[in-house]
């Protein structure tokens, strides 16, 4: 069965009511806290729950078997995998991801994923079991102060004290996760609260006097923006992941086309603007395009859209974009003027600001500026050696050709992530999923798993590709078994350079070739065997001429995951590069030109 018909079949086999309609029948009824919780999830239309049982949540699992709620529970094999899967689900579908784990180790295992979602503004809600209320603070078995541990890595967190509070708190949690700047919310559920009887109530209305979504977009600001844009001769749009969160990719594309302003994106902005568009400069920053960073350094106006001026984007802040006035459109006020002062700020939703601004701005005549950028493009293009060796960039170009830019790609962290960002040429929002802020190795595979479930739940027919280094793949390789158990046809790519490649690169460039603890040659498993043991198809290529064949075969397998191991050269490096802490105009462009290319 193809993935398309599987998705269709699944959608059809679930004609049950969704959201509020699904729970109407329970309102006012008495039931256990655990059952109230299940219906509260149904009310939020949580379609997939990534979870792992344990003592503190055993009653929830028990009720799940009895009540058969309206969502699919996916048993992940490590709670970290569960949180990343929820992130992948959220990023691929734009919906809130859901995680359910037990207390103590179950909760602490989610911490990396929660921190990741916090840094990257991913809407997930993590439900953690907790020891019974009377035992809290007694060092009870599997007790962890989950609220304390997660306080600084969540948008908000809750301890539920009564079964009657569950629907309200669940509703608030999803609302907080989804609105404004999205982020993770933790809800801690003591076992006795889940066991106690309560009454199911559901109120759509949210009452949180301390929380509102800003909308600082007025006539005065709009007219100032228009004047700044009209005055500028070298304008540039710097687009971040907030644009995708705001579902503003289309509006942004129209804005750029209407105004003729070229577009560069951050790592998380990839996909917000089609990279095959003549106005696209691709990614900026540490491993961004040389011409994009040149454009930043010469621009006289930068319009930052849903972006936060991360240090991987700016390098040394004091020398970033020294001539540019800044207009910043950003939903999170704390990101405005945090790293770079904004001359004009819209603390509002990206989409609504761009929609209001576009009709006010006249198309710009910026031919000279675009020509200048073209010169930079020609001066220092993105290249790699074509010498018969198998190089990751080549593999990526082949993958891009096969998928046609229509696949959802989850990348891991390190060189593989940067090459994917450089070579895959993203053209659609929600097709590039990565761990940018936290840089979590082991993100890609579980995120791809979650994306696969998400696309299935919403009947979206897209291939999901997971790109990994050999190091990061091993950090959550257990989730392969989950993908195969559910027939999620992931295309899992391992760029095996037998090294912790990105660290190796820094060691070669900045630590005189002391490859301290980065060589994995003797410790890597046989990835093909590992994949087969997890009931996945597995293929391997060692030479460039085998790549097409491997990819073709992989694309024919649609009933289970397929792992493709590419044995790539270990010395390959990601260029260009702004060394950490340096200025954006000090890019290293090749191993042989370590004296910077200014």
């Amino acid at each position: 069965m193809s993935s398309a018909s599987t998705a269709a079949a699944l959608a059809e086999s679930q004609p049950r009511l969704r959201g509020r309609d699904a729970v109407q029948q329970y309102i006012g009824k008495k039931m256990s806290g655990a059952e109230i919780f299940l219906h509260a999830l149904e009310a939020e239309d949580a379609r997939v729950v990534f979870g792992h049982p344990g003592g503190a949540v055993i009653h929830v699992y028990d009720e799940m078997a009895r009540v058969k709620p309206n969502f699919q529970h996916v048993l992940v094999r490590h709670e970290q995998g569960g949180t990343h899967a929820a992130e992948g689900y959220a990023k691929a579908t734009g919906q809130v991801g859901t995680v359910l784990v037990t207390s103590g180790p179950g909760a602490t295992n989610t911490v990396t994923g929660i921190a990741d979602a916090f840094m990257d503004s991913v809407p997930i809600v993590v439900f953690t079991g907790q020891v019974p209320m009377p035992l809290i603070g007694n060092d009870a078995f599997q007790e962890t102060d989950t609220l304390g541990v997660t306080r600084s890595i969540t948008k908000h967190n809750y301890l539920v004290r009564s079964p009657d509070d569950i629907p309200r708190i669940v509703h608030e949690a999803y609302h907080l996760a989804r609105t404004g700047r999205p982020g993770p919310v933790v809800v801690d559920l003591p076992k006795d609260v889940l066991m106690a009887e309560g009454v199911f109530q559901f109120d759509e209305e949210i009452q949180m006097r301390g929380y509102s979504v800003p909308d600082d977009c007025d006539e005065i600001r709009l007219h100032r923006a228009v004047r700044m844009i009209e005055k500028s001769q070298r304008p540039l749009l710097y687009v971040g992941g907030g644009t995708i969160n705001s579902n503003a990719a289309e509006v942004l594309t129209e804005f750029a086309h209407h105004t003729n302003i070229p577009v560069t994106t951050s790592l998380h902005g990839l996909g917000a603007f089609p990279e095959d568009d003549p106005l696209s400069l691709g990614m900026l920053g540490m491993h961004g395009m040389w011409w994009a960073n040149q454009a930043v350094q010469h621009a006289d106006l930068i319009i930052a859209v849903g972006a936060r001026f991360d240090d991987r984007v700016t390098g040394m802040v004091d020398r970033w974009a020294p001539h540019a006035a800044i207009i910043h459109i950003e939903i999170d006020k704390s990101c405005i003027s945090k790293n770079i002062y904004a001359d004009l700020a819209f603390n509002a939703d990206v989409k609504s600001v761009l929609e209001q601004l576009r009709p006010l701005v006249k198309p710009k005549k910026v031919k000279r500026w675009l020509n200048k950028i073209q010169d930079w493009r020609d001066e220092c293009p993105l290249t790699y050696a074509d010498d018969g060796e198998l190089r990751p960039q080549y593999v990526l170009e082949k993958l891009r050709a096969r998928s046609g830019g229509d696949a959802v790609v989850c990348t891991d962290v390190g060189q593989n992530q940067m090459w994917a960002a450089q070579y895959l040429k993203f053209t659609q929002p929600r097709t590039h999923i990565t761990s940018g802020g936290l840089g979590t190795m082991g993100f890609s595979l579980p995120a791809a798993l979650g994306a696969g479930f998400g696309l299935r739940a919403y009947g979206i027919d897209k291939t999901v590709i997971s790109i990994n280094g050999d190091g990061g793949f091993m950090m959550n390789a257990q989730e392969l078994a989950v993908a195969s158990a559910h027939g999620i046809p992931l295309k899992v790519v391992i760029m095996n350079n037998n090294f912790l490649g990105m660290v190796r690169q820094w060691q070669e460039l900045f630590h005189e070739n002391r490859f301290s603890h980065t060589d994995l040659t003797d410790t890597n498993p046989d990835f093909v065997q590992l994949a087969r043991a997890s009931r996945c198809a597995a293929l391997r290529a060692e030479r460039p001429d085998q790549v097409d064949d491997v990819i073709e075969k992989a694309w024919k397998i649609n009933d289970r995951p397929v792992v493709m191991e590419f044995r790539v050269v270990k010395e390959e490096m990601v260029f260009p590069m702004v060394p950490a802490g340096k200025s954006s105009d000090e890019m290293i462009t090749s191993r042989h030109a370590p004296e910077t290319f200014v």
């Binding site: 304390g148 600084s152 301390g210 929380y211 020294p322 001539h323 704390s334 003027s337 945090k338 002062y341």
Partner: protein
């Protein structure tokens, strides 16, 4: 980095000024003390979140006071902190970002009254004792406890006054000092022409 890189572009100057950073190379950073009032949900979690945010983000926290307001569901925190303009605006924004925060007011630079309460125990007898009582009189302090060799005093006033009082008492044998930290309140706007 070469010499010319040190000369700033007009845009860089704008950014530095906006941040309250010194424009001259080598000039000392210009951190200022600010008093910020925060209204939060009256819950343990809310207070911890506010304090935690200061430590998680490396902001200064000179003093914090907390107490319930006229509305029993709302607590008022008075926070004394330091930083340049950029840091202070970050602090205010990060405070506002917390879901339990209802309102944030930087009272610095507005017309406000501030008070701190200080209790102080002094070991003194005989002649020294009347000297201590005299100073206490001058500062409009109150005697809250007496034993043959210990005097416990209480004074209320702006932090500067409390500082001066405690300093004066140092030579008189301080046993113990308990200070409340500051609370501050903006003055009500005065009707035109009136004065206190």
């Amino acid at each position: 980095m070469n010499e010319e890189a040190l000369t700033l572009t007009p845009q860089q100057l704008i950014r530095k000024r906006a941040a309250g950073e010194p424009v001259e190379p080598g000039a000392p950073p210009q951190a200022q003390q600010h008093i910020i009032n925060v209204l939060v949900e009256n819950s343990m979690g809310a207070l911890i979140r506010v304090v935690n945010m200061f430590s998680a983000r490396g902001f200064n926290l000179d003093s914090v006071t907390v107490g319930v307001t006229e509305d029993s569901t709302i607590s008022r925190m008075c926070i004394v902190t330091r930083g340049n303009d950029r840091v202070i605006s970050q602090i205010i924004r990060q405070l506002n970002r917390l879901v339990d925060t209802i309102a944030v007011y930087d009272v610095t630079g507005t017309d406000f009254v501030e008070r701190e309460l200080c209790m102080i125990k002094i070991r003194c007898t005989g002649e020294k004792r009347s000297e201590v009582l005299q100073i206490n009189e001058i500062f409009r302090g109150r005697v809250v406890d007496v034993t043959p060799d210990i005097l416990a005093l209480e004074i209320v006033g702006p932090t500067k006054k409390v500082d001066a009082f405690v300093n004066l008492m140092r030579t008189h044998g301080i046993e113990e000092v308990a200070r409340s930290g500051r609370v501050a309140m903006q003055r009500a706007p005065q009707p035109a022409g009136s004065e206190i």
